[in-house]
Amino acid sequence: MSTSTTLNDIIPGSPAIQESTKVDDVTAMLDSIEGTVGTTRVENPKMEMREVDVFYADKQAIYDVDLDVARNEVIAMIGPSGCGKSTFLRCLNRMNDTIPICRVTGSITLDGVDINTREQDPVLLRARVGMVFQKPNPFAKSIFDNVAYGPRIHGLAANRAELDEIVISSLKRAGLYDEVKSRLDAPGTSLSGGQQQRLCIARTIAVNPEVILMDEPCSALDPIATARIEELIDELRENYAIAIVTHSMQQAARVSQRTAYFHLGKLVEVGKTNDIFTNPQHDLTENYITGRFG
């Protein structure tokens, strides 16, 4: 990544996460955020979100967000803890449906088709928009069965040979095959944390999705495992659109082409990663990426 050397000089470590959560403070700050700085739209987007609001019961977590995810790009979502990044990400494959009190309004499309209509089946949607979670969560099954889980429930393989083929190629693409090829029937939970996370990525790409959502995929990993996953994300970009939530500014800078900065449920600024980190337009963005949040 050509940007990373210059960016590392600007960003002093991870952001200071000190929320000022006095109630009048929050409302005042919320009001001060008007619209989004930068271009939220792209040519020929993979996914489009328009006027998305999310509520947990009566509490609003996302306010009127417009954002596009382009094809073959990695878009990073950054922002202070609790600002709604995960909530927003989970809208994209309707994982919020699994939370009974959660309500999503506005329109979200995948290849121009609204994903929130009654006709759209969340089950099929999640096969097209895969997700990797913050904590590696392999099933208590063998490595093989972990990867084969998705293809099996979606009937992607006609016979055992095809299934083997899918599992092996997914493991290869996730960069895990060489480490586990001799013990595919060992439990997935017996792998190291970094291997587990790559197993989860292999499991996700085994159903051949079009978009991959990643919610802080490296937060439980050491720097070496993180570097491997970042490499992997960069390779995956050739075939998939990827949206990644991260708390590490270096990581956002290294893997993403565009970056979106969220604050208290609003999308404050979005733009080319390079621009956001070298020349942020909004004060809040600047404060956050220079570690002077407050």
Partner: protein, 462 residues
């Protein structure tokens, strides 16, 4: 002083020592000029002194009370009339028992022989002497241990460590009491069974197919031998338990899955207690429900489709028992299913699995060990159940696999063997112990097998 008073005094003294030692530790610690950190909290010194005060005293009290009756009755026997002594040890024992009994009775009748009145008086004076002696020795022991304890506490020992290790010892003792009791029960049942097997062959017992324990009272009666083949009882137990499990496991498991995965939290908090009420209904109530409602209903339904259902049937008892044990399966399974981490479900949903696929392929396997143990618990409950069977399945020891006939179970036979006036050394009553032993071995085997399978399964997947 009576036992209760002594206990109370020990308790009060221990509390006082706790308070005293704790205070002292406070004063010492905070009065120190260099304000060094103490190894233990003041309360630990309190506990330490309280332990010094209570433990030796309690040990003395308990052992005294264990030994006392033996010594007293020894002393009584030595002064028993010579003609009683001449009649042998059993007679002396009986004589002693009578004296003990008379001494505890409210009023002593006037027309007792003089030697008995004397013996009673002697017993009473012995008891008083024992009490006084105990009180004296106890005061001495408490005084001494308090002195030693104070010296110990003043030397600022590592009270925290000592208290911790005492807690550990205490817990081990509690655990061993449970284990020892179990061993004791097993041994007593085992010895009685051995006496039974001296009269009836072991092989005959476990392979015999006919059960009619009626032994004759007079030796010239017909059928005086009785026959003790336990197979019909075990097949009866097996049949009824199997029917009960066939009812309870699917219903319980499905309710558990509904409660854990589909029901809203409000529905869950109402339905779960409602289901658990089933376990709280007395089994007698289930029994007459089975005998008066279910069995006749089955009988008339059977007749209407041309089946002959006896008025007491394994089916009626089994079905009602199954309903009774539903909560054992549902409640425990619901807990283990709920305990499966949400991240597992998220992973499955995130791959596009439906809810039922997620439950079948991810949640259920993860919860399996817990589910198996809930089923096991329900099974042992079914095997041990007596009341419903007595009332609804009959007493006929028939070797049959037909659920429409009357059968009987091991537990029911144990009850009928032991109720009423019985000699405790006839084969008939001893058979109850042999049955109990076999039942115990069966449930134990069941548990071992299930645990073994669960462990193998787990090793495979964890």
């Amino acid at each position: 002083m009576s036992l209760n008073t002594l206990f109370l005094i020990i308790l009060l003294l221990s509390i006082a020592s706790y308070v005293y030692a704790r205070r002292r530790a406070f004063v010492n610690a905070f009065g120190q000029t260099d304000n060094k950190r103490r190894h233990s909290l003041p309360a630990h010194y309190g506990y330490l002194l309280a332990m010094w005060c209570a433990l030796p005293a309690l040990a003395l009290l308990i052992s005294w009370k264990l030994i006392e009756p033996g010594i007293i009755s020894n002393m009584l026997s030595s002064s028993a009339p010579t003609e009683v002594k001449a009649a042998g040890e059993t007679a002396v024992g009986l004589y002693n028992n009578e004296i003990f009994y008379l001494a505890d009775a409210d009023s002593i009748s006037q027309d007792l022989p003089a030697h008995k009145t004397a013996a009673i008086q002697r017993l009473q004076s012995l008891r008083t002497a024992s009490k006084i002696l105990l009180t004296l020795i106890l005061s001495g022991v408490i005084g001494l241990s308090l002195l030693l304890g104070l010296r110990h506490v003043n030397r600022e020992p590592r009270a925290r460590v000592i208290v911790e290790s005492f807690i550990q010892v205490f817990l081990v003792v509690c655990a061993s009491i449970a284990i020892l009791t179990t061993i004791g029960i097993v041994l007593s049942v085992l010895f009685e069974s051995l006496r039974f097997f001296q009269q009836v062959g072991f092989i005959d017992f476990i392979t015999g197919t006919s059960w009619s324990p009626q032994t004759a009272i007079r030796s010239d009666q017909v059928g005086s031998s009785g026959s003790f083949g336990a197979i019909p009882l075990f097949t009866g137990t097996l049949l009824i338990s199997a029917i009960a499990l066939i009812v309870a496991v699917p219903l319980g498991l499905m309710s558990a899955i509904y409660l854990a995965e589909y029901a809203s939290s409000r529905a869950r908090s109402t339905i779960k207690p409602l289901l658990e009420i089933l376990a709280g209904i007395p089994t007698v109530v289930y029994g007459f429900f089975a005998a008066l409602t279910v069995a006749p209903a089955m009988r008339s339904f059977g007749q209407s489709i041309g089946l002959s259902v006896s008025s007491e049937s394994a089916l009626a008892a089994g079905v009602v028992m199954g309903i009774m044990i539903i909560p054992f399966v549902s409640s425990l399974s619901d807990d283990v299913i709920t305990a499966v981490p949400q991240s597992m479900r998220d992973a499955s949903f995130g791959l596009g699995a439906t809810q039922s696929e997620t439950i079948r392929k991810v949640v259920f396997p993860a919860a399996l060990p817990g589910i198996v143990s809930s089923v096991l618990l329900a099974a042992s409950r079914a095997i041990g159940e007596t009341m419903i069977v007595v009332m609804a399945a009959g007493l006929a020891a028939k070797l049959t696999a037909n659920p429409l006939e009357a059968v009987t179970t091991v537990t029911v036979q144990i009850v009928t063997l032991l109720t009423g006036d019985q000699e405790f050394d006839s084969a008939k009553t001893l058979a109850a112990f042999a049955l109990g032993l076999m039942l115990f071995v069966t449930t134990l085997l069941l548990n071992v097998i299930a645990l073994y399978t669960v462990r193998r399964y787990r090793e495979q997947y964890e």
